[in-house]
Symmetry: C2
């Protein structure tokens, strides 16, 4: 599989992928969410001071990334009969939330990264204060989009979208996972035997990365007003996909090149971070990732052939090169 990151739409086109329908669907979701983001974000017409903030917000979230979270929301929504525009708004909210976490994780006091998706990070392109504020406002926009009547006419649906996103992305989810990651890094620096075991790495990654991927698929189901059993099945699917995604990330950090991946590689080892590759070895990690792809596919069994694109997405996350 080759990834052409210069595709005119700004979305990564997957050239020659073994799943032509999947790559077309991923591209379509990425294009759809780009338009939804453009409509939902503040317009770059503000006065000087806010103009920088709005430019930085748009820079951080638009025109980049695989849009995997948006795809999961859109495709889970399609499978369960959601209005496509509503599912796209959920996708836009998820991408805002994800982008905020990347902007803050890249800060000098956190992972201190200069490069993200092959471009300077927000604090490099502007400054640290603008990066903190742009991340803050991107988080706010995520909840603003979900709470807006344009996302669903039923207020109970909108409130449940907000609640689930908050639960997945706060101290018990994404932000808690990042805190665990920093604590593990500090423990490794002190060389006091603080390197995590397999159970801890799995928990950390489930919080840091898995929770948002899981809720992405869930929001698609919720905006479709799917029955509870279908929501549970799609969550089980996305949970397996999320763990596979993180194992693939750990593998890319060891085996990928910076040009392919679009960000610094080898940084987990530099930071003394425990990863799935440390614990399972390269071959063991590959085998575990494939087992999780199978587990994700099995969770989709109740949906029959209509879930083919979601099954393909699970395979994609372990086969991708960036």
């Amino acid at each position: 599989m080759k990834t052409d990151t210069t595709h005119a739409s700004g979305a990564p086109a997957v050239v020659g992928a073994p799943w032509p329908d999947f790559s077309a669907a991923l591209t379509a979701a990425a294009e759809g969410v780009e338009a939804a983001l453009d409509a939902c974000l503040p317009q770059p017409t503000a006065a000087l001071g806010e103009r920088e903030l709005v430019d930085a917000m748009r820079y951080a979230v638009m025109g980049g990334g695989k849009r995997l979270r948006a795809f999961l929301a859109v495709e889970a929504g399609r499978l369960m009969g959601a209005d496509p525009a509503r599912a796209l708004r959920c996708g836009a909210a998820l991408e805002c939330l994800h982008a905020y976490s990347l902007v803050h994780d890249d800060l000098p006091c956190m992972d201190d990264d200069d490069l993200r998706r092959g471009k300077p990070t927000v604090h490099r392109a502007w400054d640290e204060a603008t990066a903190v504020l742009a991340g803050d406002a991107l988080q706010t926009v995520a909840f603003e989009i979900l709470a807006d009547p344009a996302t669903h006419p039923d207020g109970a649906v909108r409130a449940s979208l907000c609640l689930r996103l908050a639960q997945a992305s706060g101290a018990a989810g994404m932000v808690g996972g990042q805190a665990l990651d920093l604590a593990a890094e500090k423990a490794a620096e002190r060389a006091d035997g603080g390197v995590l075991d397999g159970v801890s790495v799995k928990r950390l990654q489930a919080m840091k990365t898995g929770a948002l991927l899981e809720v992405a698929a869930e929001l698609g189901a919720l905006v479709a007003e799917a029955p509870a059993a279908a929501v549970a099945a799609i969550r089980a699917y996305a949970r397996a996909l999320g763990e596979a995604f993180q194992i693939a990330d750990d593998l890319l950090d060891v085996t990928g090149t910076e040009a392919e991946v679009g960000k610094r590689v080898g940084k987990d080892a530099d930071a003394g971070k425990a990863t799935f590759v440390d614990i399972l070895g390269i071959d063991g990690a590959r085998a575990r990732a494939q087992a999780l792809v199978d587990e994700a596919a099995a969770a989709l069994a109740p949906f029959g052939a209509g879930a083919g694109l979601l099954t393909a997405a699970a395979q994609f996350v372990v086969d991708r090169r960036s």
Copy 2:
């Protein structure tokens, strides 16, 4: 008026205030919101990594501050017949949102403050990364509280609480105001004639401080399912109170002492910031603040004598010493 910041409840007791009912109500709201926060925040029983995050979140939001935003939500809610527990949850959400903004504003890349309410700021007590993450997670908790069915049984009410808080606190409100403030400071450093005029200072402060005070009163009215005219009246009241609050802050920065105010004073002048005092002078600023108190009281006229505590609150914000 003297403020005893060592009151056992952690809430500031206003000793010998000319409005005994108001100071009792402010203390009661502060105690109520403290209990609501304790119930809504993650418990400090998490594993090592998250424990630091949870401790920092609780440190930032509990046991401090006047709780003016919570008071406005609780008192507007009481005036319009809200269930008190629901209004308190709105107050807790507002205090989490406010605390997140203070933690991030205090960061070295922003205002670089070591002291907040007489205690070390979060990045001084822990470190910058923990302060960024604790602020992030406090913002998330604010929306989590409002979206939770415990805040109101009607999902449409919960969604409108989330939507209005997001609109008031994002790029078009609080965060946008902070971005304007930083941009004005940078312009002043360059000495390129960037000092703001009166219209710009008013707009900046309306976004940075006013928007959250206004939405605080509004959430109390919304959780009471008050009619649109009552919501509009309470917003007009809180808008005037918010501007008066900021003028009083500018006056305190010039005339207060660090021991009284609990944070560094004189920092606006040091930073070359344009304030209401620069534009109006000390006497002019005091007169304008009092006119706004009268404007706030006039907006409450439709509610009759029941609004006495809110009227007293408007006087309090200009007479306070911290």
